[in-house]
């Protein structure tokens, strides 16, 4: 099953289970349309009708704000944006209302909403390319998750829908496995087994994608796959890499990372978000505070350079971490 299909399954199951759950977003299931920018919501209106699958006007402030309002008063909205960059249009609702409402009300209201957003650079230029995890992990009151496999996508989204806090879900454009004319040119297609029976994945539990003894790499979304590629290269050179996918950034599973560095003594963080003040910076700081004595070398971050994402593939490929760049930095880290 592809990630797009797994997300759709999660939404379907939760909508069947709980009639408070509904979807809203632009072009999410117009007759003859796309099923959202990456097909995740395709066909859902057949089963649930347009009362629960709401195609909205192009109005991001309203989408986010309506999700907050509905969530506060007994509904469970799953909202989305077509590209993560448009989250900026709804930032006031996300930061000032979604993130603060429970707190400001002294805990008397809950905001059980989900906001889904595709991220990642795909040669569409700077306004359709950004990875925004760092912005959202910085906002108190929001949980932030980033599934990178079909299994995780389904299990984590179901947990997000049942969480009583607002949850932002970052999905990667090159990992969806969207089909037909919504397929992406340079996409990976990480199809994976998804069990028949129901399952949920708790937040704050990382997954070890690869075991190793020399370097721990913490990476998310597409960077997991780039790190895996790098690890395969490094293995031939005798460098053994352990790869950890945090799966959720807020909450973050530090324990798994610390257990890993106890073994490897070296830590690298790889993210597609730009470097300055990103989630990787937070992880590095936290590990430095709590576990620096397990390390034999400085913590290394590999991230997108601090520039907007350029259009030309030669430049885009340069600013976003590649397997080669990760491998090169890992070699340096081994020698430091």
């Amino acid at each position: 099953m592809s990630i797009a299909e797994a997300l759709r399954e999660a939404i379907k199951e939760e909508m069947r289970r709980d009639e408070r759950v509904f979807c809203l977003g632009e072009d999410i299931d117009v007759e003859g349309g796309f099923g959202g920018a990456f097909t995740v919501t395709l066909g859902l209106s057949k089963e649930f009708g347009h009362e629960r699958i709401l195609d909205t006007p192009i109005s991001e402030i309203m989408i986010a704000g309506a999700a907050v309002g509905a969530a506060m008063t007994g509904m469970i909205p799953i909202a989305d944006v077509q590209y993560g960059d448009f989250l900026f249009c709804m930032m006031d609702q996300m930061a000032n209302n979604a993130g603060k409402m429970t707190y400001m009300s002294g805990g008397t209201v809950k905001v059980p909403m989900v906001m889904r957003a595709p991220v990642g650079a795909t040669t569409r230029g700077a306004q359709h390319a950004q990875s925004l995890e760092g912005f959202f992990t910085h906002i108190p009151g929001l949980k932030v998750i980033c599934p990178s496999t079909a299994y995780d996508a389904k299990g984590l989204l179901k947990t997000a829908i049942r969480d009583e806090n607002p949850v932002v879900v970052f999905e990667h454009k090159l990992l969806y496995g969207s089909k037909g004319n919504r397929a992406e040119k340079s996409a990976l297609s990480p199809v994976g087994e998804v069990p028949e029976e129901e399952y949920l994945i708790p937040f704050g539990v990382a997954a070890i994608r690869r075991e190793g003894t020399d370097i721990t790499i913490v990476a998310n979304l597409l960077m997991i796959y780039r790190a895996m590629e790098a690890a395969a290269i490094l293995e031939k050179e005798g460098i053994s890499v352990e790869i950890i996918d945090p799966r959720t950034l807020v909450p973050f599973d530090y324990e798994t990372v610390i257990n890993s560095i106890k073994k490897t003594s070296r830590l690298m963080i790889v993210e597609e978000d730009t470097r300055r003040n990103g989630w990787g910076a937070e992880v590095a700081a936290q590990i430095a505070e709590d576990a620096i004595y397990y390390l034999d070398a400085p913590i290394k971050r590999v991230a997108t350079y601090d520039v907007p994402i350029p259009f030309a593939p030669v430049m885009e490929n340069f600013v976003v971490p590649s397997a080669q760049r990760i491998a090169e930095e890992a070699r340096k880290l081994m020698n430091s």
């Binding site: 006007p57 249009c89 470097r275 350079y305 030669v314 430049m315 340069f318």
Partner: protein, 325 residues
């Protein structure tokens, strides 16, 4: 009866529209061949709005555009060479390969690099208009946006501000009936978007957006008002895109009868028929003109193909970059 519009001008309007149509068709072909990166949002069918609105602007006047910018940019005078090179992600592109299709533009001819956030260009146009006024120029701004953008909060804030400050901004709404796959009927209760002008105290007109002469006449009235300090105008240009929304979109969400009706009102055909009926020129002369345009596009493809790619490190220029690892 004497025609209001000069024959030579009609030829000029037609030539620009023909350039846009053939440029877009060429792009579509090259894109499907797979040699062009990124995505495309094309404007076939909407040539009359771009050309009619911009034909009488001066170079010093401005234009803001959207994710569908090629027609606007060609009509404002961005060169075919530099646009084509940008599409090929070359260093000689109008944005040095950094922008791509959705950010096409060239400030030296007043084409503000296009903004691909729906509605995102509308407040920027207000700022450009404000600047034109504060600098005591008589320059004006044409602000393009789609029907879909009129449901963004940015639209509301911007029209109100332009109205109270009497800014030389002309809001040109290209109502092509769809925002991506969504029909305007599904997301807006009023039939004519133009009437929203009333909410802000802005004069408005509803215009046949496929008749370049009618668009141009409305544009001239609005430009005149903007230049002489009478303030802003809202024009709703009713049109239709012949292309998909983006990439290879088969438009499964569109009613085939509606498509057929609109396809029959093709802006180029309407203009060409006018030229031939009024005997402004002969078919043969017109075809010579068309040939010239086709050559220009072919040359642009050659230019783009033979241009160098940017260097990877160029990605770190044109922005404040602290350095990094």
């Amino acid at each position: 009866m004497k025609e209001k519009i000069d024959g030579q001008k009609v030829l000029g309007l037609y030539e620009k529209m023909f350039l846009i149509r053939k440029y877009e068709e060429k792009i579509y072909f090259l894109f499907l061949e797979g040699i062009m990166p990124g995505t495309i949002h094309q404007s076939q069918g909407q040539e009359a709005t771009a050309v009619g609105m911009l034909y009488d602007l001066r170079k010093e006047d401005y234009m803001t555009s959207t994710h569908r910018p090629a027609g606007h940019c060609l009509a404002k005078g961005v060169t075919v060479d530099s646009m084509m090179a940008e599409m090929f992600a070359k260093k000689t592109g109008c944005c040095k390969g950094k922008g791509g299709a959705m950010h096409t533009g060239d400030i030296s001819v007043g084409a503000i690099p296009a903004i691909a956030i729906v509605g995102g260009g509308i407040p920027v146009a207000v700022g450009v208009g404000l600047s034109c006024k504060m600098r005591k120029t008589d320059n004006v701004v044409v602000c393009f946006f789609g029907d879909g953008a009129t449901n963004e909060g940015a639209f509301h804030e911007s029209l109100n501000a332009a109205a109270i400050w009497n800014l030389p901004v002309i809001f040109a709404c290209e109502n092509n009936l769809y925002g991506a796959s969504t029909h305007i009927r599904q997301v807006t209760k009023i039939k004519d978007l133009a009437v929203r002008g009333d909410a802000y105290g802005i004069p408005w007109e509803i215009v046949d957006g496929n008749d370049v002469i009618k668009v141009n006449e409305a544009a001239i009235r609005a430009i005149e008002r903007a230049r002489n300090g009478s303030g802003t105008t809202f024009l709703e240009l009713k049109t239709y895109r012949r292309s998909g929304h983006s990439r290879n979109d088969a438009c499964g969400y569109r009613d085939k009868k509606e498509e057929k009706e609109w396809f029959e009102k093709d802006p180029l055909t309407i203009c060409k028929n006018y030229i031939l009926e009024k005997k402004i020129t002969t078919l043969q002369k017109l075809e010579e003109l068309e040939k010239k345009v086709l050559d220009e596009i072919d040359n642009a493809v050659e230019y783009a193909k033979s241009s160098p790619y940017p260097e990877p490190q160029d990605a770190l220029t044109d922005v404040y970059f602290e350095g990094g690892k």
